[in-house]
Point group: C2
Chain length 401, copies 2
């Protein structure tokens, strides 16, 4: 029998009614003759509620105990889903990360999966059962419970699919696929039939928030086909695969908008070796992730160093930079990052220029630019964010197949 | 260092504030130089809430999955307590039943503990940590999660105390000890300093609901001293031990009242062998527990067979009996069972007579009587229940030490 691994997120399991809905979908899939492993997130806002409880008993909860606490969320939804399936007349079994043989390194709160020992999984599958596995968690060789960090359930699904040599890993979520851009901004936004792992990675880290980047990386590494689908509607989703047909592919697959960034600049720092490493090394030690970095030359012996960070880190970042005493600091959290992503832009000149041109024709000023092989990002004033997405989407005619 | 095992119930852990209160008590005990293993129930009404969730997704949840579900409750409270202790500056570690090596038989929902493999527990204790263990649960040899049934956390505490050869097992609860009777009924009720295992067993199953009977049985079997104390107040509790000083002991230790019973009688059933076994065998197969049984003789070839059951079972019981078609059935749920319990009544005649006399002098009619070595129970009309407890408490002068 063909094996599928499905993952259902917290929104899809938020209430008993939704759990029954998921059970019904699983039941239908099984009736089509598939063998199934299902991995689940915690119901709705459970994880946030548990974090809040922890905050109320400790100012600095030990990470090991956080994992003991948080791992219960998926155990609840896994057990409930198995119960619901029993009412649909199916034999199923829920397994914790430990029972499913998901071994991780001993790094609490953000463990990486080292190995999946599939004995128990295969035994239950061979026994004809639907196997429900708690997402987001595993066990160490020393029998300690670990969690994989936010979004870890996607990673669990991909890891199980790889370990069990499944046909594909299906991620069921509250959106019905990956769109050319946010449909709330551009109503003509089109659902993509296919997208490459690399494009998805750029889309995910740029705020599309459909798939966790780690799961995409893992799928890419083992060439495991991912399918993003709605858990609510019966419609086609988006497949995430190694390569789309380059002949048919449009140069740009999607436009993303990120408004949770802030821009920081240190003015007129000395133009000498070691300056950048001092700035960014200090930020790294303070756990502040830097996204775009632009160094501009004044023509004298000083440079301006500008970069973007998550807006939540702004206050801390400015404080850290002041302690370095390297130059005047200016900051701005009134910005947006608009990006185009597309594997098809490789080897096609003029894509970036077309993006800049569409922004210019709408009177939108570009403050910073950064590019990679398959992405171009521009920092603009926040008030123009949504407008920028619209004009770019239109310029590249993304609404057309 | 002297090792204590403490157990905190759900009411004592109902809110983050109460968890912090428990952490403070534990902190104080550790500062007195004790080594500690603490076992916890689920917070407040968590277990009931989980059961309600299960009911909403399944008409008949598989018992295995119920145990997967319910076992999360204690994992949450154990992790939170470990976090709170960390804020008090203590090193602690929370362990699931599996991690703590609590092996049970594979009977879901009401497993019995077969063995406690103490390697991990001893390792953590030797490492100077306070060990928090999830109550109410264990693991089977096949790596299946089991629960011990309601009140199982008391049993966990006693089992851990025995396995680790602790000095005593302390049960912290929302009452501050075992009283001669319910202080809400008799305001002069006196807290007992000591009570025997046997007396406690009679008290527990008669509705005192302070300690789970299984835990008392286990403690009795290994002569493990139990201490029942308040988790809220700093007052002496009640110790449950093998023998109290018989010279000083009063014949009666306590008076209990149970108003959750119903009386059923089958009139004029044939007086021949096999009748009782047919009635009570049928009830047992229908999972109805029978308490008191009275067979009265008519002087002809028929008997009346009367017995008491839990009131919740009444409807089902009558239905089952009707299907037997053995005689007219009468039932009454307007009854109360009042009992006296005391190891000191062994070998002292007149104790039962004194009880009957006190009821008679208050004009309370006795419908049924049952006795054991250390207990006398009377079924009376429910309206006289509280009055009966008062007059008996007074007759035996239980308010006096």
């Amino acid at each position: 029998m063909t094996l599928l691994v499905q993952k259902y997120g917290g929104t899809s399991l938020q209430t008993p009614e939704r759990i029954l809905n998921v059970a019904k979908r699983i039941s239908n899939t099984v009736k089509q003759g598939y063998s199934l492993v299902v991995t689940v997130s915690a119901m709705g806002h459970t994880t946030d509620e548990l974090i809040e409880l922890a905050r109320q008993v400790s100012s600095n909860p030990p990470q090991r105990e956080m994992d003991m606490l948080l791992s219960t969320g998926e155990q609840v939804s896994a057990a409930l889903l198995a119960m619901a399936l029993s009412d649909f007349g199916h034999r199923s079994v829920s397994l914790t990360g430990a029972q499913a043989g998901i071994y991780t390194e001993q790094v609490f709160n953000k463990a990486r999966i080292m190995d999946v020992k599939t004995d128990r999984l295969k035994k239950e599958l061979n026994d004809g059962k639907i196997v429900i596995v708690t997402g987001f968690q595993g066990i160490t060789q020393d029998d300690e419970i670990t969690t994989l960090g936010r979004g870890g359930s996607d990673t669990t699904a991909v890891a199980l699919a790889i370990a069990l040599n499944a046909q594909q890993s299906e991620i069921y979520t509250d959106v019905d696929g990956v769109y050319t851009t946010d449909p709330r901004i551009v109503k003509e936004a089109r659902k993509l039939h296919s997208i490459t792992y690399d494009e998805m990675l750029e889309m995910a880290s740029l705020g599309a928030q459909v798939l966790h980047p780690r799961s995409v990386e893992l799928a890419k590494m083992y060439n495991m086909k991912l399918l993003v689908k709605s858990s609510m509607q019966e419609v086609d989703g988006t497949e995430v695969i190694g390569e789309v047909n380059m002949e048919l592919a449009q140069p740009v697959s999607g436009v993303t908008l990120d408004t949770n960034q802030a821009k920081v600049a240190i003015l007129r720092v000395a133009d000498k070796p070691g300056v950048a490493s001092k700035i960014f090394g200090t930020l790294a030690r303070n756990n502040i992730s830097v996204d775009m970095i632009i160094q501009s030359i004044h023509g004298d012996v000083t440079n301006d160093m500008a970069f973007t960070i998550a807006r939540d880190d702004l206050e801390k970042c400015v404080e850290v930079l002041k302690s370095l005493n390297m130059g005047d600091i200016i900051s701005d959290d009134n910005i947006a990052k608009v990006s185009i992503v597309g594997a098809g832009m490789i080897g096609r000149p003029g894509i970036a220029a077309k993006m800049f041109e569409s922004l210019a024709s709408a009177g939108i000023n570009i403050q910073m630019i950064a590019t990679s092989e398959i992405k171009v990002s521009c920092i603009i004033s926040k008030e123009f964010g949504r407008e920028a997405v619209k004009v770019i989407h239109q310029a590249f005619e993304l609404e057309k197949v």
